[in-house]
Assembly symmetry: C2
Homo-oligomer: 228 residues x 2
DNA sequence: TAGAGTAAACCGAACGGTCGGTCGGTTCCA
DNA sequence: TGGAACCGACCGACCGTTCGGTTTACTCTA
């Protein structure tokens, strides 16, 4: 029978498919020749496929067979590129964590920005990163904590939440925010709204851009929805 | 050896534990005698345990053995009360869907409430229900869509989202909301903030009450965080 | 009131199937 | 021709579920 390949070729991407970041000639360990033709996976291009499937079916709901089908290769071939399922998860969440932490670093190093300015910047940048790294941040936000690797990701995420909450508390202490709201509660709500973007945002022409969403969030958060 | 019982008795609830809604004498099919003593599970009290574990480990990450351990009974005993794992999921999400739909029904039947009033009421009530039925709504919001039952739950949830978005659009059409925001985008953000409450809210004395959170959300959403 | 009978609640063992992962190859290309 | 990329077959463990049997709490009857 051997129906594997004929079933694969329809309904899921082969390496030549639309994923778009497989190794051709400009990838990490590119072939040295002038015109490399073979299209194969790199750990990163495989990660892109894997994270997409993880976000569709959930990490625990995704089998290695699911990943193989989506990638257009066999289950055993995946182990040529990565150690196993968990490495795909940690690589995915680390990409999100790195982007978020880098943004926070530059924000904290801003020499003489006002405390309110910094919070506004933090909200705006958070939405931007969330959209730029949408699948990876989505994966991070849905991590449950069933393994040691997942708990580590959760801990790193909590650290980021606390850095953001610190911005809000400083702005509140400086008197820039309304005083009838607990800053910790306000912070939860604001970044809850920010993070909820992963549940519905999808990029594409004719749709909202990252900046559209970022400025909408910033406007709602700081000035509210009511007409005035 | 038979270490089953001695292991169970520490670290997880037995039917006599703190779950609090097992059948004693006032439950659905109660014993007829004057002083029934035996404490057993009902489908509903078992559901309460199951939904808690589902929310901790994720539905796909929870095995029937996990549920049995948390309930203090064996895996096979669970099947005396429910048909299987999926029935626990559908019962759980339906409880959330029923509560949310009931609230929307009363809100839509409000005879002469202003369009802005209705949106404010919708936001406030949504947070209240979310807190009252916290574990069940949490389960609903995390459903992935891997089975037919899960996709049905997602469809019901989308219908609720659209009813809520309808309120926002009517208020916008009536000129009650700021005009520089797409009402559909505003609706996504507002109920994204509302739903994000399940990610961190935990009830308890000395903590925020449901109304604390509900009014905080309403204030931020309609008037913003900025001091004025 | 002793004891037979009943049905719900629960248990241990096992089922077929799927899981993540391994291994010994074969194919492809610089 | 050497090594990267990939494959098919397979492994032990665990999955959700089933099944036959036991325990428990209670009612009915002699």
């Amino acid at each position: 029978m051997n129906s594997q390949n004929s079933q694969n070729s329809q309904g899921s991407q082969s390496p030549q498919g639309s994923q778009g970041s497989q190794r051709v000639q400009d990838s990490p360990r590119a072939q040295t020749g002038a015109a490399a033709r073979r299209v194969t996976y790199t750990p990163d291009s495989l990660l892109e496929v894997a994270v997409t499937v993880f976000n569709e079916r959930g990490y625990d709901g995704t089998s290695m067979e699911d990943l193989a089908r989506a990638a257009g290769i066999t289950k055993s071939s995946i182990y040529h590129h990565v150690k196993g399922k968990e490495e795909l998860l940690t690589r995915g969440v680390n990409r999100a964590l790195d982007a978020l932490n880098a943004s926070l670093d530059t924000l904290e190093d801003l020499p003489d920005a006002g405390d309110l300015d910094r919070v506004e910047q933090a909200v705006f940048r958070a939405v931007q990163i969330l959209v730029e790294e949408l699948p990876y941040v989505t994966l991070l936000l849905r991590v449950r904590g069933n393994t040691e690797a997942e708990r580590a990701a959760q801990a790193s995420r909590r650290a980021i939440d606390q850095r953001l909450a610190g911005f809000v508390e400083r702005a509140a202490a400086a008197g820039a925010l309304r005083t009838d709201l607990d800053p910790r509660l306000a912070s939860r709500l604001v970044f809850g709204m920010v993070n909820s973007v992963v549940e519905w945002y999808r990029p594409g022409p004719g749709r909202w851009s990252a900046d559209d969403v970022a400025s909408a969030v910033t406007h709602v958060v700081f000035d509210g929805l009511r007409r005035r």
